[in-house]
């Protein structure tokens, strides 16, 4: 089967809903490969360039794991402090160089718009692993995968997004995607960290049912998903202000008494104290599975952007490790 071409993944707008569902289906079939139960070198001979201009643990490692599980190779930019970036090299020049070394690039950059800028400069596809407070579409794909795993569908769900909605790029990309599947969104945040106005108006312009509140716990009763985020200390100039916002939400097992049985709690991690460890053992906690899903979602994306078809019957094609 021919797969439809995706030139790069900068924002979720680069994927149609149909492509999103196809990629999630590819990811589902690749689960045994992601778990290391099956060897399927679909990307043998291909090289991923990992360009992380700011710190990353999960995203960088899961891209690397995804590529290696599929038999591909990875080259890393390494520490920005010792790379040519510190000598004043422009992003354009760095991309020109890595473009020649690799078949696909995953990148994170502190400046917003850097991924689109890189895509315009590159011959190979770019996977945006986060650009400033902009987009993080590969995180969105693993989030959608996790939601679909839990609920068997994406459409018509009620999703609460809570915490730092102002700077949290994961919730920006995810909101746009969920609205496309007809989900109702509740944004729960301290006033200082509300979802940017232009995003709320964009979502409403697309017909979204969006409700904003500061009351997280009162919003959870009808929710199918509660998506928590870390309040990022580094964004605050004033320590007191941070302390006030940081304590705003601490999801504890006692808050889960009246929620729906199949409601799931998600978090892009790392968490600080916005989810109490008492939640970890409940049926609702999905954040560690979510982190694992980063590997399988990125495996499916790497295949799609490199034009490689994921076989319908993975176990028939794969071999033992």
């Amino acid at each position: 089967m021919e797969v439809s071409i995706v030139a790069g993944l900068i924002t979720m707008d680069d994927l149609t809903n149909e492509q999103i569902l196809e990629i999630l289906s590819d990811a589902e079939r690749l689960l045994p490969v992601a778990r290391g139960e099956l060897y399927l070198p679909l990307l043998k001979g291909r090289i991923l360039g990992n360009l992380f201009f700011e710190p990353s643990t999960r995203t960088r490692m899961s891209f690397e794991t995804a590529m290696k599980r599929l038999g591909g190779d990875v080259v890393n930019l390494g520490d920005v402090k010792t790379s040519s970036v510190v000598k004043g090299e422009t992003l354009f020049d760095t991309i020109q160089m890595v473009d020649g070394y690799t078949d696909i690039i995953a990148m994170r950059h502190p400046r917003q718009g850097a991924a689109q800028y890189a895509q315009d400069a590159a011959r190979v596809p770019i996977l945006n692993g986060g650009d400033g407070a902009g987009h993080h579409p590969t995180q969105t794909m693993l989030d959608l995968f996790t939601i679909q795993q839990a609920h068997g569908r994406l459409d018509g769900l009620k999703v609460v997004l809570a915490g730092d909605l102002r700077y949290g790029r994961t919730v920006h990309s995810l909101s746009h995607a969920l609205v496309r599947f007809g989900c109702d969104l509740i944004f729960a945040s301290p006033d200082l960290l509300r979802m940017p106005e232009e995003i709320v108006s964009d979502l409403r312009a697309h017909g979204a049912n969006v409700h904003e509140t500061e009351d997280l716990y009162g919003s959870m009763a009808e929710a199918d998903v509660v998506y928590m985020t870390r309040i990022q200390k580094e964004r605050f100039a004033d320590e007191d202000e941070y302390a006030r916002c940081a304590g705003a939400y601490k999801l504890h097992v006692r808050h889960l008494e009246d929620v729906k049985q199949d409601m799931i709690v998600m978090h892009p991690l790392p968490r600080v104290d916005e989810i109490d460890p008492t939640v970890d053992k409940t049926r609702h906690a999905r954040y560690f599975e979510q982190a694992f899903n980063g590997v399988v979602a990125r495996m499916a994306l790497l295949c799609r952007l490199l034009g490689v078809t994921v076989p319908a019957d993975v176990s028939a094609e794969g071999g033992a490790l």
Binding site: T90, L91, P110, G113, Y117, G134
Partner: protein, 158 residues
């Protein structure tokens, strides 16, 4: 009051440029965007809030001994896309210039968002702002996607 009467509020110029049909109150922003300020040595006449049949009221600018370039017209498109521009030579209209605000504004101004990748002026790719709405004007950066602060644009002219 007729349009002709409005034009006569300031003396006819021998050579230069007349920018007519500027939205009322926007003349100062036009001057800012064109970089015409106190240091400009050529005479500049400006009338604001004069009656206009077409617009209700409007502003007019006359710049003597200077003909607007295409680059200046592109900048003008960001503050007064429907203005009329005439080049005057020997007291007559020698040329009427068309302002064209296309779908994208390329290499005219840079993005107003302080954390956009294009704030590094050593980056060589074009500065690109997409026209989302024409009236009222809404621009977004092609790279970072942020809506532009129109009041800041004149500080970001390239």
């Amino acid at each position: 009051m007729s349009n002709e009467h409005s034009m006569r509020r300031v003396t006819a110029i021998r050579n230069g440029t007349v920018i007519d049909h500027i939205p009322s109150g926007q003349a100062m922003r036009v001057l800012e965007m064109l970089g015409i300020g106190g240091e400009t040595s050529v005479p500049v006449s400006l009338v604001m809030n004069v009656p206009s049949k077409k617009m209700g009221s409007k502003d007019i600018i006359k710049v003597e001994d200077r003909e607007l370039t295409q680059g200046e017209l592109d900048r003008l498109a960001l503050v007064a896309p429907d203005a009329h521009v005439a080049i005057i030579r020997a007291y007559s209209v020698a040329e009427k210039l068309t302002i064209n605000l296309g779908e994208e504004v390329v290499n005219v101004v840079r993005c107003t968002f302080s954390n956009c990748i294009t704030t590094n002026l050593r980056e060589p790719q074009a500065h690109r702002l997409r026209v989302i709405e024409r009236d009222p004007l809404e621009l977004r950066c092609h790279y970072c996607g942020r809506p532009q602060d129109l009041g800041e644009l004149s500080n970001n002219v390239l």
